[in-house]
Point group: C2
Chain length 316, copies 2
């Protein structure tokens, strides 16, 4: 799913060496503990990266064709058609979701053909046929939690938060964590078409396996959080077009001049550094913790570090 | 904790009757299901309500003197002294916390005397002495989940999300859900003083029982979400003062002319309507659910409806 440009490794401890000494307290409990030296940073594949430009700023979305192949294919067609340019976030509930598109799912029309549900996939098992098995590569899985409240197992698959119902086989699906993007639908599971939502609040995990998650925000979640909210008690609907946040442009990165692309680097969730970070977040051995927390991790509360490289750093 | 102004009951189905027919799909999964007729709405006690005015808008915070008596007392003194006016949110990590104040916790100084930890309280048991028992009222508890990943039990106490380690006695504490406000501190549990943080992302429950939660945002969480973020990889610190979101004013509601106060009504979490809502969120019996979700509730994913009444509606 990534263009791994040599698995660039960085040491930016120097960036905040002194600060780190001063900034104790609450932050000890967040990002300061992990072994950043062991993190591996991947570039995004421009064929599966979307830039969504709002007045509020630019949001970078990573698509997931492994879990939602047809939805991603359709989305790319819609992007090529510039379908989303000029559409808006018309239903936005703070702490829940920001839903955008052409409103076809609420005005009774149906802009284009609908999509088959892509809610989950079979865990890919090694083929029994020796010839097929030769070319087979297992699915990556960085375990996070067994006995999660909503699933038997949670973990990361190439940067995406996911869950499984069996450790060996069974189904696997992407979880509704903050920043995931999924197709809206009506009661019919196969009724998704064009309109999508981004999760902007506490993970609505009860939606897992009920909607097609097809990507996640890797950069610009602060921009997403500035999207204009609607009234929560009226389903978040913003009646007046002019009061909504609008999508100026939404494009596949590969359709944009390489000079105009953003060089976002995302932590490899398969890397030792990330696994160390998970361990440190589970152990919480810092002096700060007066009460040692239970040794559990909420898959949706694990940050996946990302950063934007300056163009002059990239193109040396 | 509330001024219960006659437990006003409302029926606002009429507000979105037609909309409700059109808006199916995702929203079936959110707020549309519950029996709004049975909700009871409470006014806020002006003695325990704070208005925080930012350029981004106004945030209304409900204080909790039951769980954090000394911290609330100190905060009221600070508000009277106009301590926070002109201070800023200097450390803001998207998906985690927005921390504000005078930066005394990071610049090495200590503006005022520190506060004793108020991380949890004993569950108030009925006094054995018959005389004392006469005047005793039990603590309210609206159960949400047993076997929550971070605690034996979760539930609501007068509008606040909370957790317990024993159903009968033991300790009880306020949980780190989005919108809660707590005192920042250094490694010493008793080192909190003036600077506070608001949780703005997926609940960092590992902080439960480790910091003094003293209130929650009941109105204006969309405003909080617009607070300027800092760089996540640099602990969220925003070096330049001018780039930060500033606190213009922070006042106790009772110190403000009654005509200038906001009439916020908050759902009573002890009411039958709220309990029905919890049941419906747990059952998820709507046709929308292709996969029936596990019958569990995340205490931090339960919305507590609130609304702002127009002044002319209030003062009839």
């Amino acid at each position: 799913m990534y263009l791994d440009t040599g698995s660039i490794m960085f040491n930016f401890l120097s960036l905040y060496g002194l600060r780190r000494i001063l900034v104790v307290g609450l932050m000890t409990a967040s990002l300061s503990g992990y072994a950043q030296n062991d993190l591996i940073w991947n570039s995004l594949d421009p064929e599966n990266t979307v830039y969504m430009v709002l007045r509020e700023g630019t949001v970078v979305i990573q698509l997931n064709p492994t879990f939602a192949p047809e939805t991603v294919k359709k989305l790319k067609q819609l992007l090529e058609d510039r379908f989303y340019d000029g559409t808006s976030f018309y239903r936005v509930i703070d702490g829940f979701v920001a839903q955008g598109g052409d409103e076809s799912d609420i005005d009774g029309s149906q802009a284009t053909e609908t999509l088959k549900a892509e809610f989950e996939i079979d865990w890919p098992m090694k083929p029994e046929d020796p010839e097929e098995a030769k070319n087979w590569t297992p699915m990556s899985w960085t375990p996070v939690q067994s006995g999660d409240m909503f699933a038997a197992y949670t973990g990361f698959i190439d940067g995406f938060p996911a869950a499984r119902d069996d450790e060996k086989a069974g189904k696997v699906w992407l979880t509704h964590c903050p920043g995931i993007i999924a197709m809206a639908r009506n009661d019919d599971p196969d009724s998704g078409a064009t309109d999508f939502y981004i999760v902007i609040g506490q993970a609505p995990r009860y939606l897992d396996r009920n909607l097609t998650v097809f990507g996640r925000v890797v950069w610009g979640m602060d921009v997403v959080q500035r999207i204009k909210r609607g009234p929560a008690l009226d389903n978040g609907l913003i009646e007046k077009d002019l009061e909504r946040s609008w999508i100026r442009q939404m494009r596949l990165a590969s359709s944009i001049d390489p000079d105009q692309r953003l060089n976002i680097l995302v932590t490899d969730t398969n890397s030792d550094g990330f696994k160390k970070m998970l361990k440190e977040r589970r152990d919480r051995s810092q002096k700060f913790f007066y009460h040692k927390p239970p040794e559990v991790l909420d898959i949706c509360q694990v940050p996946i570090p990302a950063r934007l490289e300056k163009p002059d750093v990239i193109r040396r």
